[in-house]
Symmetry: C2
Subunit: 157 residues, 2 copies
């Protein structure tokens, strides 16, 4: 995988993003890993399914990398998001940002996950013990029950 | 390695701390990795040597883990610090904190590295092109040129 920003159907290992950003000019790497949590507000998740409009999602991840490079000096970013069926504790997203000093690394990796939730076209289907639901935007404020993205827009792992 | 807080002379891989904290209750893991940077204020580092008072350093790392557990709900922490000779880009320290939600993970992992710099008895010797120097406290505000820890207190990888 040559890209620093990509969508995958394979299990993610954090070394994959880490090794893309480590370099002699950097003294600090901050990573963020989002995993599938079993319980949310007392409700048990059995597994999740993620779908994405892949070409657009990768473009948006690249855009986040450019935003970070513009905001923090000498910052390098890598992001991978998985789609398809994910079990409890599987990694859904992994972010790594390297910078010369640690303050910037923390801020930038935090920025990355917030931006992903805001604007990357990835949808999540919750599978609970008693039903399923498409979670709309990544901030989980909209339900896509009545307005799922079209099949053409989505690619399913 | 059964412990969550340890000093090592071996190369560090971030998976080692990550896998200690990932669990079904957590949806977020923030890691911080400190690596050997080649240039600091224009001065080129060739390599570093770290020494530690190992039993005390491990106790202090454990203490940081307890502090985090008290400050952030349902947080789990793992920290490893390497001693001995480290080359450019080698990992000196790796921290992982898992929490149910991402805000806490970021805050706690940041807290961990600041506390390490404040109070863990690990000393660093810079090897530059034109000389060497023991860096005193980890915040790099004190030089140990005249008050190095005693040989009995230090263990060298």
């Amino acid at each position: 995988m040559d890209k620093n920003f990509w969508i995958t159907t394979e299990p993610i290992r954090i070394e994959q993003v880490y090794k893309k950003v480590v370099r002699p000019q950097a003294g600090a790497v901050s990573t963020f890993i989002g995993t599938v949590r079993e319980f949310t507000k007392g409700k048990r998740t059995l597994y999740l399914q993620y779908q994405a409009y892949v070409p657009m999602a990768e473009k948006k991840l690249e855009q986040i990398g450019r935003e970070i490079a513009a905001k923090w000096e000498n910052a390098e970013t890598a992001i991978v998001h998985r789609i398809g069926r994910l079990e409890i504790s599987d990694i859904a997203v992994a972010i790594a940002v390297s910078t010369p000093h640690r303050n910037d690394a923390f801020e930038a990796s935090r920025y990355a996950i917030e931006r992903i939730k805001e604007m990357v076209p990835i949808w999540k289907k919750e599978h609970w013990e008693d039903g399923t639901k498409w979670i709309g935007d990544q901030k989980e404020q909209v339900s896509y029950a009545k307005r799922l993205p079209s099949k053409e827009q989505m690619e399913n792992g």
